[in-house]
Amino acid sequence: MLEIKNLHVKLEDEDKQILKGVDLSLEAGKVHAIMGPNGSGKSTLSYVLSGKDGYEVTEGSAHLQGEDVLDMEPEERAAAGLFLAFQYPVEIPGVGNMTFLRTAVNAQRKARGEEELSAGDFLKVVREKAKTLKIDAEMLKRPVNVGFSGGEKKRNEILQMAMLEPKMCILDETDSGLDVDAMKLVSEGVNALRDAGRTFLVITHYQRLLDHIKPDVVHIMANGRIVKTGGPELALEVEQNGYADILAEEVA
């Protein structure tokens, strides 16, 4: 699904290298998790993949189903099936959540040459998906993320994902700020989307989320690189011992 090879990224305005050769191969139908210390470059990886300004790729590549994503505009990446659930979802005053969702869904359909959803069909689908995520009608009417609590913002991200049905879903710390019940809801939302044709890259600090969303592969990122890859047991190891041992191994 997504092939990342030797990806090197620096800040555009500063001489600061953040990703120093990331290799990841994410197969269709799998859930990969990335863990790693603060500042190791996890969010940067997700931003670079989705096309945020301010970063410069100095080496390496990323291909989504064979297409060079680094060469595309952010909206083209979205239309190609890439989705990022933001670590910090953005507030957009004055743009209604519903308008936003509908514009996004229809923009992607249009880009793929599909017919736009009618207002009625759209409403039906949104209402149903919102309900399973316990997002009420009032929240749908409000401006995007404005005045939403931390957990509400995260649920709103998952609602967008459910509406857009992307192929490659990157979840950046979607569990942070969620209470125990919301974590279950969100995980169920994600699990409902698990499918042989869909891949997840779940960035998290905690095993807790991975109890609900069971990963196939766990990677540890440190200092801009994937330093260790293993099965679900790797996450448990981190949970118990922290990163010290793993990082020591790497240096050795």
Binding site: P74, P89, G94, F100, L164
Partner: protein, 429 residues
Amino acid sequence: MGLPDIKTNLTDARLAAQPVPQSGAWLAAARDDALARLRAMGLPTKRDEYWKYTDPSTLTEAVAQSADVFDAADEAPLYDGIDRLKLVFVDGVFDVDASDDMAPEGVTIERLADAGAADIHWAKDLYGVLEAKGQSPVERPLAALNSATATDGVLIHVTGTPSKPISLIYRHADATSDATLHHVIKVDAGAEVTVLENGPAAARFNKCMEVDVADTGVFHHIRAQGRDHERRAVTHIFGRLGKESVFKSFTMTANGVLTRNEVVLELTGDDAQASVAGACMGDGAFHHDDTVFITHDAVNCESRQVFKKVLRNGAVGVFQGKILVQPDAQKTDGYQISQSLLLDDDSQFLAKPELEIYADDVACSHGSTSGAINEEALFYLRSRGVEKGTAEDLLVLSFLAEAIEEIESDDISEDILARLEAWLMRRRG
């Protein structure tokens, strides 16, 4: 104390080109008074403090600069779906044939050119009167010029609640037209009216509207200034608000090489509510100036000023807004916000927000900001598949939303929104 020669000469030249028309007794007297005011003040120049940000020379010069007529192609006119009483002016001249019958229920409407021929008229107590009152503490000579020389306009007396809005449509046909219109609107106690305005009117347009809203009267005003790129306009609204009355005025401006909109309101009765709002989108050779002066003279009144400007390609936006709270105007609630969204580094927003408060128990707030499009929000929208141009448009409309929300009627605000969307689409081609 004499006027500087430059102002005397400017005023003389203008009056030579635009003489005071003949009228019946009441109007002739009003025009004389206005002429005396004008002569005492002289027309403004860019050295005047009140014209620091806007050069008035093309508004004051004897002969108007020409302006091409905008071709709206097959676009539906604004307010098309709204049932309204249409009164049409072409290059500043009332067009009887194009207009609806002027005798709807709850209101009497007369043409200034007709009513002005009479010896006596109710409008005598308002025509040039509110304008004269609005000349202090700041002079507004172009309004006095208007009262002295206006050639047409309507006198609207609202006695009840007319079933539909009164729609003043200003067509522009002649590239060299220079129009001066003066309207007087009197809203009786308990009466309610909506006045719509749209269209460029002329190559150069000087319009004055005096509005007297009696106790518990309600006045709604929604205006869209025409899209002719080269048109120039100076407009004044003078409003007096009685007890528990409501006055709401919204203006949309897209295009126009020069626009100066002045609104001067006096809240004279307790518990009155005023709102003045504007949404403007300027591109290229565009200079738009909102100058607002609201005086609170009574207890427990509320006033709002909400102005939003989107500027690109060197467009200039100006806001001069003042809230004056007199010593007895306790419990005043005054709100003023003026913001610009600058879509590039060439565009400019100049703001002078002012509060002058002499009462001690008031809540007044004001804020003025100028900023670029929010890159984080833009990326967020694009990451969801929204194409860059569309995402920018959404953010522009969301920026203007607070001003548009000041419009009371949903039908009309939807119409305004659709027009703004069309403007954005047209720009992107």
